[in-house]
């Protein structure tokens, strides 16, 4: 399996720090300074106050597997060889959800409620893609 041919992240002003941190194998989130709550995807303001008062933090990289699906229908040419592939929805301990993939764990071990933690197994050209495996 190669991540190199996957679709590239869609960069914008707000999410660029997220992707740069992935390159350093760090999962970062914005945290609202008024409420202490984290949010994702990256945005110019906190959704809890509507104000541009937030800071980047390094997240624990841990969370719970909330749900999962298996793609049989392909939509991306660069992922044709990976079909069928799972996508998991992870609720991070900091609150936000991420849609991601498993890394270093067997598909048979996927189950709702499992504790998972982040890995950085590589990614499409020039990017590192955070994925999740059973909690280390």
């Amino acid at each position: 399996m190669s991540l190199a041919t996957r679709p590239k992240p869609l960069l914008d002003i707000w999410n660029t720090p997220f992707w740069e941190a992935c390159r350093d194998h760090r999962l970062v989130l914005q945290r609202c300074t008024a409420t202490g709550r984290c949010f994702f995807p990256p945005a110019p303001v906190s959704p809890f106050t509507g104000r541009p008062e937030w800071e980047w933090i390094t997240a624990s990289g841990r969370g719970e597997l909330w749900s999962w699906v298996v793609f049989h229908q392909g939509y991306f040419g660069g992922m044709k060889d990976e079909l069928p592939y799972p996508v998991v929805m992870v609720k991070l301990d900091e609150g936000p959800f991420l849609l991601t993939n498993i890394d270093g764990m067997a598909e048979e071990d996927i189950a709702i409620g499992r504790r998972v933690s982040v890995r950085f197994p590589g990614g499409p050209d020039g990017f590192v893609l955070p994925q999740f495996g059973l909690e280390a």
Partner: protein
């Protein structure tokens, strides 16, 4: 990850200010299928002409125009020779069928226009429209398509409430049964069983082919006008009695982890807004882009408790009777819906509600249909109640 902002939901006990003030005066639908010799303009013109004929009107009687999935309102108006005093193009997602209806009602009630044509045209099949792929924030992980979003939500629903994939089969089988009673449905003459549903090709597990709607070319047009004006027109008017809507955009682009239950629950205000109780309704039109949305809608609007929809739809609850046999209490999507008639993004389902209330549905007619309810489970949760003007 929703912020803790309260829902600005319509209050229970308050009538809709537009209750029974606006009516459907005409309905037009094209055939649904693969029509590479035309496009959304051609299909839209065909549907609008059918609706004008149905209403006994000419293009010059139209002074308001709302188009959807037709690229340019300007070009469409020009083609039909319509120079309105109110005109707009609404966004492409299917939630905008109900939104467009509400905008038209508001425009008529405030005098912005007297008679509005709403025209939906889609040539998604012949252009091989794929609802997935492209660039989005989740593409690097291979996450894409509305079907996958619903699959993710349904997996969690099964986990939390003990529902099963077979529960969805009761939805798909009921709607296919209806398509077999509807001679123009795309899946007419092709009945399915629970076993067919279970064995269908997986698309994005846990969902399979028969949980997905049918992409086709086609168009739907509605003509709406004031209730008084409609009374003097050709067709028996159908009134828009109540409309309720609650949005939530706080899901971070991920599947709705609450199945839209809070926002759909807020739409229970539609009964008070319409002045019509649930027991006074004979049939339903539910936005079924994927089979799980039907169950989310039934739970959200309170037809059963949260998590109980799987049991609720057993034994043909959503199914019409046939050959004198008694049907279920809540015949739903009697044309076949998006799953078995065609994916006309809510426009066709609302057209079917109107036709039921006019008593035009032949073999699939709900006996003595006096009021119908439409429900749409999305980030813009909505419900609408229609009734026969003479009921």
């Amino acid at each position: 990850m929703p912020p803790d902002t309260p829902l600005a939901s319509p209050a229970i006990g308050t009538p809709w200010p537009l209750r029974d003030k606006v009516a459907f005066a005409g309905i037009g639908t094209t055939r649904y299928g693969n029509f590479p010799d035309t496009d959304s303009y051609g299909l839209g013109c065909e549907a609008l002409n059918a609706a004008l004929d149905d209403a006994g009107l000419k293009p010059s009687d139209i002074d308001g125009l709302i188009v959807n999935r037709i690229p340019s309102y300007e070009r469409f108006a020009e083609m039909m020779g319509i120079n309105p005093q109110y005109c707009l193009l609404t966004e492409t997602p299917g939630r905008f069928s109900g939104v467009s209806l509400a905008l038209a009602a508001q425009a008529i009630a405030t005098g912005a226009a007297k008679t509005i044509a709403l025209v939906y045209g889609n040539n998604g099949r012949s252009v091989r429209m794929l609802y997935g792929g492209g660039d989005s924030q989740w593409s690097p992980w291979g996450m894409t398509s509305p079907g996958a979003i619903h699959a993710m939500m349904w997996r969690r629903h099964m986990h939390d409430f003990g529902t099963t994939h077979a529960d969805l089969g009761h939805v798909s089988v009921a709607f296919r049964h209806h398509a077999c009673l509807n001679p123009v449905a795309v899946m007419h003459g092709r009945p399915i069983t629970q076993e067919d549903h279970a064995a269908a090709r997986p698309i994005c597990e846990p969902l399979r082919l028969l949980d997905y709607c049918l992409i086709n070319d086609g168009a739907v047009a509605w003509i709406m006008t004031g209730a008084e004006r409609a009374r003097d027109m050709k067709r028996p008017p159908v009134l828009v009695s109540g409309y309720a809507r609650q949005d939530c955009f706080a899901y971070g682009g991920a599947p709705a982890h609450d199945w839209w239950y809070p926002t759909l629950s807020a739409c229970r205000s539609v009964y008070d807004r319409a002045g019509i109780g649930r027991e006074d309704i004979q049939g339903l039109g539910i936005y079924d882009n994927f089979s799980p949305t039907v169950l989310f809608s039934l739970e959200g609007l309170g037809f059963c408790g949260q998590g109980e929809s799987g049991d609720f739809v057993q034994d043909g609850t959503l199914q019409l009777g046939v050959d004198g046999q008694k049907g279920g209490r809540w015949p739903t999507n009697t044309s076949g819906g998006h799953l078995s008639d065609s994916y006309m993004q809510g426009w066709g389902i609302i057209a079917e509600c109107i036709r039921q209330l006019r008593g035009e549905c032949g073999a699939r007619q709900i006996p003595d249909a006096r009021a119908m309810q439409y429900i749409c489970a999305t980030h813009i949760a909505q419900s609408i109640i229609f009734r026969r003007a003479d009921a």
